[in-house]
């Protein structure tokens, strides 16, 4: 499904990692591990096409993501560090806005069911500014669930979540895998996943030698 070939990443003239290759098939969960500053966020942003690698290719369903952008983005969803929530829109409007950019219009009932699952039942009309940061992250969880994406790219998804939130995220990942989807994530907190999982240690791909 997703294939990474010889990826190289440079930031501020420092070589973060090079010759990174791996594949991700359906129903696979992959954790990217590494110390602070080793390039985990950069890698995820490169996977999303938000950042260009120094060299290397990313292939989605056999085609490079540059040429296959529309298809890739229709099937992939990304959550980063920032909450993506507008303070002046209600919870429902926020979810709709996020789904609208993906051209997904779901009716309110479907969205409300998902909001209930993430613990935001009866919060539909509450504006974003009245929510805690943990609650805002839960809106993102609802968005991810509703996004109809087969690939989830999650950068520190446990940020600001409380204990129940963490359990919720874990169960969502497991359920997504069972349903045939794939997940790539990074996390500083430990994640207890009730399923098989692979991991890639970014530190293994960092070379101390100077580039030519």
């Amino acid at each position: 499904m997703l294939e990474i070939q010889s990826l190289e990443c440079v930031r501020d003239d420092r070589l973060l990692f090079s010759d990174l290759s791996f594949t991700l098939a359906e129903s696979e969960v992959l954790q990217i591990e590494g110390a602070n500053g080793c390039g985990k966020t950069s890698l995820l942003r490169i996977l999303c096409g938000l950042r260009l690698p120094e060299s290397g290719n990313i292939m989605w369903q056999g085609e490079s993501i540059q040429s296959n952008r529309e298809d890739y983005y229709a099937n992939m969803v990304y959550i980063g560090h920032l909450p993506c929530i507008k303070a002046d829109l209600t919870v429902l409007e926020n979810v709709r806005a996020l789904l609208d950019t993906r051209s997904l219009s779901l009716n309110n009932a479907v969205i409300e069911v998902e909001l209930a699952k993430v613990g935001l039942e009866s919060y539909e009309d509450v504006p974003g500014k009245a929510l805690s940061s943990g609650q805002r992250r839960r809106i993102l969880l609802a968005f991810v669930a509703l996004s109809k994406a087969s690939l989830w790219v999650l950068d520190e998804p446990l940020t600001a979540l409380d204990v129940q939130g963490v359990e919720l995220m874990e169960s969502m990942i497991v359920a997504h895998k069972r349903a045939g989807g794939s997940v790539i994530f990074t996390t500083h907190h430990g994640m207890q996943l009730d399923c098989e999982m692979r991991s890639v240690q970014l530190g293994d791909y960092a070379h101390a030698e100077l580039r030519e």
Partner: protein
């Protein structure tokens, strides 16, 4: 695809409406700056008329410049910009939706209030009409070109002055033809040439600026 355009436009309009007080600021700025000029000179009708086209146009330029920040700043800071760039819809089109919302919220009010300012500056009736037409054609271009500048500087700290430095030289042709149209109208001459030029620049901007803005946004995001 059009649905995404429409929904983004509505979203931005809705967000602005919930902070209505912010919207009036560029408008008040516009009126205030124009009002400064009569206070700075002897406000005879001839003196004011002579400087009116330039004064009103430059003030409109500055008012739009001040409001450009709202285009991408909020989205950049809360992460929505990333989500827009990850949309399967063409980024150019989403950019166009945002610029359209920006013009409706900033440019259009300037156009509507311009006749009042024409009155302040003793402009005769025909000139006021041409002022409105020229601003109607010119302010969308200001939003479109401004979008390119904002997308390049949104991630720069205190990038406001940098934005002005980048964008103002690009505004000059619109300023020249817009102000001149009003000037010429006061003498009762035809303004067709000037308005045609503005329309042509608008067409060029509509076709090229969203593309340049989309490229600039991807450059900005790649940090």
């Amino acid at each position: 695809m059009l649905k995404a355009f429409y929904h983004l436009l509505i979203r931005d309009l809705r967000l602005a409406m919930r902070n209505r007080h912010e919207l009036v600021n560029p408008l008040i700025f516009f009126v205030l700056v124009v009002s400064l000029f009569p206070l700075a000179v002897t406000p005879t009708a001839e003196a004011l008329q002579a400087m009116a086209p330039g004064v009103i146009w430059v003030s409109a330029l500055l008012a739009v410049l001040l409001s450009l920040d709202r285009l991408f700043k909020q989205d950049y800071e809360d992460g929505s910009l990333d989500q827009l760039m990850l949309s399967p819809n063409p980024l150019m089109m989403l950019v166009f939706a945002k610029v359209a919302a920006h013009w409706l919220l900033t440019g259009l009010p300037l156009v509507i209030i311009a006749p009042l300012l024409g009155l302040f500056m003793s402009l005769p009736g025909e000139a006021i009409a041409v002022l409105v037409y020229s601003l109607l054609l010119g302010t969308p271009v200001l939003s479109l070109i401004g979008a390119i500048g904002v997308s390049l500087t949104v991630a720069v700290n205190r990038g406001g002055v940098l934005l002005s430095l980048i964008v103002l030289p690009l505004y000059i042709p619109i300023l020249i033809f817009g102000a001149n149209a009003v000037d010429v109208a006061m003498d009762g001459l035809s303004v067709k040439g000037q308005l045609m030029f503005l329309a042509a620049v608008l067409a060029l901007a509509v076709s090229l600026a969203p593309l340049a803005t989309a490229v600039a946004l991807r450059i900005t995001a790649s940090r």
